[in-house]
C-alpha cells in the first residue's frame, strides 16, 4: 500500500546549523506514529517542513500521492495536513467556536450555519463544548491544547500532527488528551504525535521514530525503541 505521507531525504539548515540532514520516513494511512528525540533534534523543524511553515532545501514530501513541498502552507492544509502548535496560538480575539469557523470557512468552505454545527460537534468530541462561546483568551492551558486539536480537526484533516499537545499537563489531563487522540484515530485520521512524555507516546504509537541532531537514529515498535542503546545515548548522553 502506498504511504499517505512519504518524506524522502529532507534537509534543512539554519545558517550553519543543520536542523535536518536527509530525513526519510513513510507513514501509512490510519497509522499512529510517534516522533521522539531530545530538544533541538529537529522534530518541530521536520513537521514545519511537512505542514509548510518552512521549506525543505532538499528532498521531497509526497502527501496522498502529490508532491507538496513547494506548496504554501494553506494549500497543504486544504489537501488534508493539519497541525496543532506546541505553544498554543489561538485566535485570541475570537471565541472558541469562532476559532473553529476559520478552518471551516477556508478549508471545508462551509457557510457559518453549517460550520457552526460541525464545529460544535468537534468541540463535543474534544470536550470543549461548554466553552464554545467563551473568549479563547480566557481558556486554561489544557483547554488551549484542546482548542489547538479542535481547530486542526475543523480543517477535516487526513493527517493530524500533534506537536507536544501534552507538555506541561497533569497526569489526568494527559490521559484525557490520549483518549481524544485515540478516538480521532479510530475515526480514520492518521496521527503523528510529537511528545516528550515517553509513557504517553509509547502507549499511543504503533511505530516510533527517534531523531537526534537532524538524523533518524532508529525506528521501530515502542518496545524496541526503549531498548535501543542509541536512543538511550541520545537522551541520557551516556
Amino acid at each position: 500500500m502506498a504511504a499517505l505521507l512519504q518524506v524522502s531525504n529532507v534537509s534543512k539548515h539554519f545558517g550553519g546549523f543543520t536542523a535536518l540532514a536527509g530525513v526519510s520516513l513513510a507513514i501509512a494511512e490510519g497509522e499512529r506514529f510517534g516522533l521522539i528525540g531530545p530538544n533541538g533534534s529537529g522534530k518541530t523543524t521536520l513537521i514545519n517542513c511537512v505542514s509548510g511553515s518552512l521549506r525543505n532545501e532538499t528532498g521531497s514530501i509526497v502527501f496522498n500521492g502529490e508532491e507538496v513541498s513547494r506548496l504554501p502552507a494553506y494549500v497543504r492544509t486544504r489537501r488534508g495536513i493539519a497541525r496543532s502548535f506546541q505553544i498554543p496560538r489561538p485566535f485570541r480575539t475570537m471565541s472558541v467556536l469562532e476559532n473553529l469557523l476559520v478552518p471551516s470557512a477556508y478549508v471545508a468552505h462551509l457557510k457559518d450555519t453549517d460550520g457552526e454545527a460541525e464545529a460544535l460537534d468537534i468541540l463535543r468530541k474534544i470536550g470543549l463544548a461548554e466553552k464554545a462561546h467563551a473568549p479563547s483568551s480566557a481558556l486554561s492551558q489544557v483547554e488551549l491544547r484542546k482548542l489547538e486539536l479542535a481547530r486542526a480537526m475543523a480543517a477535516r484533516p487526513k493527517l493530524l500532527i500533534s506537536d507536544e499537545a501534552m507538555a506541561g499537563l497533569s497526569g489526568a489531563e494527559v490521559e484525557e488528551m490520549l483518549k481524544i487522540l485515540f478516538a480521532l484515530n479510530q475515526a480514520g485520521i492518521t496521527i503523528i504525535m510529537i511528545e516528550h512524555i515517553m509513557q504517553a507516546v509509547m502507549r499511543f504509537s504503533q511505530r516510533v521514530v527517534c531523531l537526534d541532531a537532524g538524523r533518524i537514529i532508529c525506528e521501530g515498535t515502542p518496545a524496541s525503541i526503549v531498548q535501543n542503546p542509541e536512543v538511550r545515548k541520545a537522551y541520557l548522553g551516556a
Partner: protein, 310 residues
C-alpha cells in the same frame, strides 16, 4: 436592508443640504470631516482588521491627489474619472506596500510605510509637471448642475465616497475575508495552517485600503484649487487616520466612522475658535487618553456600558 436605507437617507440629506442656502463655510468644514471618515475607514481595513499598522496614509492620499492633478492638467478629465484613476493608482501602490508584508511585520512594517511616504514626496517635489516644491495653481472647471458652488458639489462627492468606503469596510468585515483578516491579526502562522491564504488576503486588504485613501485624495486639489507636496504628504493625515479608528474602535466598521466624525469635528471647531496648531495637539492628547483609559475605543466603552446596565 436597514443599512442600505440608512445609506440612501444619508445621501439624500447630503444632496438636499447642499442645495439649500446654508453658510458656505459649513461645506468647507464638512468636506474635511468626511474626507477623514474615508481615510479612517480605509485605514481600518488593513490596520484594524488585519493588524498591519500603516503609517503612510499621507502617501496614498497624496498619490491620489497628484493622480487627479495629472489627469486634469493633461486631459482635462472630469472629477469622476479623476477619482477612479486615483483609486487605481493608489490601489497599485497599496499592492506594492502589501508585498512588504511578506518580510515585515509590526513596527517594521509601519516604519517601511513612513519610508514610502518620504520617497514619494521627494519624487513629487522634483517633478516640474505637477509644480514641484512650489506647487501648482489649478483653475476649477464650471460647476455641474444642480449645484451652485463647487465646494457644495465636492461635499456631496465626498459624502458619496464616505458611504462607498463604509460599505466596502462593512462588506469586508462581515464576509469570510474579514474572518481571515482577524485570524491573520491574531496569529499569522495559525491562520495559514487553518487554510487562510494569508498573503492573498493581505494584498487584498492593502490594495482596497490604498485605493480608498487615493479616492479620498482625488477631490482635494479641486477643493483647494491648489496642490503642493508638503501639505499633501503631511504626516497629519497618517496620524489622524490611525488615531480615529483607535479612538472610535477598530473591531467594527462603525468605529472609524465615530472616531473620524468626533475627532475631525473637534479639530474643525478648534481650528476656528482657537488655532490651527492646537488642533494637532487635540489628536495627540485624545489618542493617549484613549489608549490608556479605553483601549477598545468608544465602541469598547459603549459595550462595557451596555453590559453594566443590563
Amino acid at each position: 436592508m436597514k443599512y442600505w436605507i440608512t445609506v440612501a437617507v444619508v445621501l439624500i440629506v447630503a444632496v438636499v443640504v447642499a442645495l439649500v442656502p446654508v453658510n458656505e463655510y459649513f461645506f468647507y468644514a464638512a468636506f474635511v470631516v468626511l474626507q477623514f471618515v474615508v481615510l479612517a475607514t480605509a485605514w481600518n481595513i488593513l490596520g484594524g482588521y488585519a493588524g498591519y499598522v500603516n503609517f503612510g496614509t499621507g502617501a496614498f492620499f497624496a498619490i491620489g491627489a497628484y493622480s487627479a492633478v495629472v489627469l486634469f492638467k493633461w486631459l482635462g478629465a472630469p472629477l469622476g474619472v479623476q477619482i477612479l484613476a486615483a483609486a487605481g493608482v493608489s490601489g497599485l501602490l497599496g499592492f506594492g506596500v502589501g508585498l512588504l508584508t511578506l518580510r515585515l511585520r509590526g513596527i517594521f512594517f509601519a516604519i517601511a510605510t513612513v519610508a514610502v511616504t518620504f520617497m514619494l514626496e521627494t519624487v513629487m517635489v522634483n517633478w516640474r509637471y505637477v509644480g514641484g516644491a512650489t506647487g501648482l495653481q489649478l483653475l476649477r472647471p464650471p460647476v455641474t448642475e444642480p449645484f451652485d458652488s463647487y465646494t457644495r458639489m465636492l461635499f456631496v462627492v465626498m459624502a458619496l465616497l464616505a458611504l462607498v468606503a463604509i460599505s466596502v469596510a462593512r462588506y469586508v468585515q462581515d464576509s469570510w475575508i474579514g474572518r481571515g483578516l482577524r485570524a491573520i491579526r491574531d496569529s499569522e502562522e495559525a491562520a495559514e495552517c487553518s487554510g487562510v491564504p494569508t498573503l492573498k488576503l493581505k494584498l487584498f486588504a492593502c490594495t482596497v485600503s490604498g485605493a480608498l485613501m487615493g479616492a479620498a485624495g482625488a477631490p482635494m486639489p479641486m477643493y483647494l484649487s491648489f496642490i503642493e507636496p508638503a501639505s499633501s504628504f503631511s504626516l497629519n493625515y497618517s496620524v489622524s487616520a490611525l488615531a480615529m479608528p483607535m479612538i472610535g474602535g477598530t473591531a467594527h466598521w462603525i468605529g472609524p466612522v465615530i472616531g473620524a466624525l468626533l475627532l475631525a469635528s473637534i479639530q474643525q471647531i478648534v481650528t476656528v475658535t482657537i488655532s490651527n496648531e492646537i488642533n494637532v495637539l487635540v489628536v495627540g492628547v485624545l489618542l493617549v487618553l484613549f489608549v490608556v483609559a479605553a483601549p477598545d475605543g468608544v465602541l469598547g466603552l459603549f459595550k462595557r456600558w451596555l453590559r453594566s446596565s443590563r
